[in-house]
């Protein structure tokens, strides 16, 4: 049976890994290439590189780092951040990315999902959504969680899938950085609404949070986290052993 995936996320600015808490207060953690190799060795199933660079120079550093990583790490790599055009897909795919995640770029221009999936296949296009409760509904936010789009999350994500998104990353702004567990209510609403893989993001604080995620929501395919992995609060081999002990299929290395 297909295994549940554990995915460390590396937020990269100017070629270095950083991680914010509720999207502010960034701390430099480590070198992306070293961190990626480490994660691959200890059993990460996939890696997400998220480019939070604003400048052209920072973007060039990012693609250099990506190419260097793809030369030494042989697990699937997803790249997100600053993806606004099909040319942006091309830029990161040529550096060894396997999937590309779109967020604000798709909100501005939903056709980007269709154009990219036609060109590279649905499996290549990941729709990432930053979602927060507002006025009694799940609301999609743009620009790293700063701008309310007014869009209801489940309908936006369903639209994204119909346009060709092959996978969803659902990041709950409400639980992100709090380390109190994944946003099960939000994840349930989204995973019941779509037939493509859903990756849970935002809120993991312990091994138990991943166990709860996969036991209570069998339709969720993967769990993504950053700082708890980067700071060693959760070790991937122990996490996988704990999941396996609870009967959740995982890949052990």
């Amino acid at each position: 049976m297909i295994t549940k995936r554990i995915i460390p996320c590396l937020d990269v600015r100017d070629g270095r890994v950083v991680k914010g808490v509720n999207f502010t207060g960034l701390n430099d953690v480590s070198s992306p290439v070293e961190l990626a190799k480490y994660y691959s060795d200890v059993g990460a199933d996939e890696l997400v590189f998220y480019d939070i660079t604003a400048s052209a120079e920072g973007r060039r550093l990012f693609t250099d780092i990506l190419c260097e990583t793809a030369r030494t790490v042989f697990i699937p790599l997803t790249v997100g951040g600053g993806i606004n055009t099909v040319e942006d897909f091309d830029r990161v795919l040529k550096c060894g990315a396997d999937k590309v995640s779109v967020n604000s770029g798709a909100l501005k221009n939903p056709q980007l999902i269709r154009d990219a999936s036609r060109k590279y296949g649905d499996q290549c296009v990941v729709l990432s959504a930053d979602v927060k409760r507002k006025d009694g509904e799940f609301r999609v936010f743009a620009k790293g969680g700063r701008e309310d789009t007014g869009l209801e999350a489940v309908s936006w994500i369903k639209k994204g899938v119909s346009l060709g998104a092959g996978e969803i990353v659902l990041n709950s702004i409400d639980t992100d950085g709090v380390k109190g567990g994944f946003d099960l209510e939000m994840l349930e609403a989204v995973s019941n609404a779509v037939g493509v893989p859903v990756i849970a993001s935002g809120g993991a604080g312990s091994i138990g949070d991943f166990v709860t995620l996969f036991t209570s929501l069998p339709r969720v395919d993967a769990g993504l986290a950053a700082s708890i992995f980067h700071f060693g609060e959760v070790a991937i081999p122990e996490l996988k052993s704990a999941l396996k002990a609870r009967g959740i299929p995982v890949r052990e290395v």
């Binding site: 297909i2 295994t3 995936r5 691959s40 793809a70 030369r71 042989f74 697990i75 395919d221």
Partner: protein
């Protein structure tokens, strides 16, 4: 030298890098002479079968691959590159393949129970069938590899080297003499995948 058949479909960066990582000389090229001179060939592929089959024919490389395989050169098809080895695919119509491995390619939706997500994407375990396949010499039963596909080969039981379970057994790898195919991506399957590529590079070459 390992020749990676470049017919303009897909991205060969990871594949080229993975051979570099195991210390094997490899080159992505669309030059028939270079491919015919290579010791072994890799047939990659992503996207739709029809587009890839057409690109392979229009570049003249379908004949090169077929000729090389008939002459005994080891050939490994990966993902869509494996599907191209078969007689026919029923992905959006009916399209002929290279006919190097008997069998056909059909939607996995026809095989697996309803309710399972398609594509079959992620890490799944290999279960070996039949005689031990040389490219899996360093693997253990149940080793995990990375899959991304919505179509799979059927009717190729005599040549199936490994299956994977996704509600039903799906063809994961085939082997017909010097022709090998993996539905999964060895170049994205960590150490296990690199072990497969290394073993492929060390398979016996009978005649070129």
């Amino acid at each position: 030298m390992v020749g990676i058949v470049d017919y303009g479909v897909g991205n060969l960066f990871s594949l080229t890098s993975s051979f570099a990582a195991i210390g094997a000389e490899a080159k992505a090229t669309g030059d028939p002479a270079e491919l015919l001179a290579a010791d072994r060939l890799i047939l990659p592929g992503v996207g739709a079968f029809e587009d890839a089959a057409r690109a392979l024919r229009e570049t003249g490389l379908a004949d090169v691959v077929t000729e090389a395989a008939r002459r005994g050169k080891p050939l490994l098809g990966i993902c869509l590159g494996m599907q191209l080895l078969f007689d026919v695919s029923f992905e959006y119509g009916e399209h002929p393949g290279l006919g190097l491995v008997p069998g056909q390619v059909r939607a996995i939706a026809e095989t697996i129970p309803a309710g399972l997500k398609i594509p079959h994407i992620g890490w799944n375990a290999l279960h070996f069938t039949g005689a031990p396949c040389p490219i899996f010499r360093d693997l253990r039963e149940g080793d995990f590899v990375y899959f991304v596909h919505s179509y799979a080969a059927v009717g190729c039981e005599a040549h199936t080297a490994a299956v994977t379970e996704y509600g039903a057994p799906l063809t994961a790898a085939v082997w017909n003499g010097n022709v090998y195919g993996t539905q999964f991506h060895p170049e994205k399957s960590g150490r296990v995948g690199l072990g497969i590529l290394r073993a492929f590079c060390e398979t016996e070459v009978e005649a070129c």
